[in-house]
């Protein structure tokens, strides 16, 4: 099982490659599990065939934490855990790994790194800010992926308990605070950077638009998303600016 660790880790980078509404990331999980199940093919071919079928069934989680499931499910197959119990483990992991990953990465690390990049950009560090942000983000992402697969393989059916006791849930509030702070810091700097040298009417127009957009978002979200509002307002403004005599 250990032999396939590196290949499984690399395959997890494309775990959403065949994402679909029927099995969601199931096929990607099966694809990443294949190297880990190779030894089982030699040890117990009948069990391997069942395990391969199970590995590609419906699953969904945060992609960066999918290694926890891949490792735990592979370990459970080697431990001869009954198929029904493995199916229940698979179902039980879906929501927690999705929610935890969304909170840590999508709502935490991504805005924190992007906010930091914007602050760096506005402070004049251009490419350094972008490069450092990418390096930091991917270092955390890769390290988390390796930790996830290793933890899954080591703990098997006990993976839920292992995750609950790990650094990950404890770090969610901290990364959230960092994201809030860095995005908060980035916003005024972005406004100044984008409106630098513009006439005062342009600054007032931008401020007025921002207030209206915030009010509309507050009142009509989620029906009116920021993209829909942007499309409508910008389209109208282009038409006005174009056609005004």
């Amino acid at each position: 099982m250990r032999r396939g660790f590196v290949r499984a880790s690399l395959r997890l980078l494309a775990v959403q490659g065949a994402w679909n509404y029927e099995r969601m990331t199931g096929v990607g999980i099966g694809y990443a599990s294949e190297p880990l199940l190779e030894d089982l093919q030699v040890e117990d071919p009948a069990r391997h065939a069942e395990a391969a079928v199970r590995s590609a069934e419906y699953f969904n989680s945060h992609p960066y934490l999918a290694g926890l499931a891949v490792g735990a499910l592979a370990r459970a197959e080697y431990d001869q855990v009954p198929g029904g119990q493995i199916a229940r483990l698979r179902t039980a992991l879906t929501s927690p790994l999705g929610s935890l990953g969304d909170q840590f990465f999508w709502a935490g690390l991504v805005p924190a790194v992007v906010g930091g990049m914007i602050v760096g950009l506005m402070a004049g560090y251009g490419w350094w800010a972008i490069g450092l942000g990418l390096l930091l983000y991917n270092a955390v992402r890769i390290a988390t992926g390796i930790w996830a697969l290793r933890t899954g393989l080591e703990t098997g059916a006990q993976v839920g308990h292992a995750v609950a006791e790990s650094w990950l849930p404890r770090s969610v509030p901290h990364i959230g605070v960092a994201a809030g702070f860095l995005v908060g810091m980035a916003l005024p700097l972005a406004v100044v950077g984008l409106l630098d040298g513009q006439p005062s009417w342009a600054v007032l127009l931008a401020a007025g638009t921002m207030l209206v957009a915030l009010a509309v978002g507050w009142r009509f979200s989620p029906r009116v998303t920021s993209v829909r509002f942007g499309l409508a307002v910008l389209g109208l403004t282009v038409l006005l600016a174009w056609s005004w005599p």
């Binding site: 679909n20 992007v114 810091m185 915030l214 499309l231």
Partner: protein, 224 residues
């Protein structure tokens, strides 16, 4: 400003990469508008335009969490096209139109992701027997076809974004009046990011830190 063939190929490759990065592989943050814009600006020799257009679209993107089966825009290829559209022009005139252009393509990109997911679903149907037998070759085949289809999707979206931008660029009415559109784009983008940040912050510590960060940012902006 003419765009060389080598630059066009570079833009097509970059747009495809950032498109695939969003969902399929390797999800390394390349698909963020700020990165996609910076890369396109670098390829065109206009990093300032790349940074600024990427920044405006990044503010929109900060409002959306790409969670699970949620529908979200695919900004990358559209941002690459928007930087092409803005290249060689006065940025304060073209920023707003480029933002609108990228938003239209990002929406189209979001729809194309739904299409991709349905195509992957149809691939599953044709591979049903192999999957039911746990055939490793079938699983690999479904996986590779999924990634390959996303490469084609992203390449087509980028080709459309860049091609249309090259066609539109000499036809844009870039007068001083277009500064109106740029100001509205900045206001809308900042509202999107601020709305998203406030929603994500809830009512606890994160909200206090958001306010503290905004205060520090204001101070730094005032001291610039």
């Amino acid at each position: 400003m003419p765009v060389a063939w080598s630059q066009l190929l570079g833009l097509l490759g970059w747009g495809t990469l950032v498109g695939v990065d969003l969902v399929s592989f390797p999800q390394a943050l390349l698909s963020r508008p700020l990165i996609a814009g910076a890369g396109a600006g670098l390829l065109l020799g206009e990093p300032e335009a790349g940074f600024k257009i990427g920044l405006v679209l990044e503010l929109f993107a900060l409002d959306v969490l790409p969670v699970g089966a949620a529908r979200y825009p695919d900004y990358g290829p559209g941002v690459v096209g928007a930087v092409v559209l803005a290249s060689g022009a006065e940025l304060s005139f073209v920023l707003g139109i480029a933002t609108l252009y990228a938003l239209v393509l990002a929406t189209l990109g979001g729809w194309s992701l739904q299409w991709l997911r349905r195509v992957n679903g149809r691939t599953l149907e044709t591979a049903a027997a192999g999957l039911a037998a746990g055939d490793a070759a079938t699983i690999r085949s479904v996986q590779y076809r999924g990634v390959a289809t996303d490469v084609v999707r992203s390449a087509l979206l980028t080709a459309l974004a860049v091609g249309l931008a090259l066609w539109l660029r000499p036809r844009l009415p870039l007068t001083g009046r277009m500064e109106l559109v740029s100001a509205v784009a900045v206001g809308t983008a900042v509202a999107a990011a601020a709305g998203g940040a406030i929603r994500s912050a809830g009512r606890e510590a994160r909200l206090r830190w958001l306010a503290a960060g905004a205060g520090l940012g204001l101070l730094m902006a005032a001291l610039r």
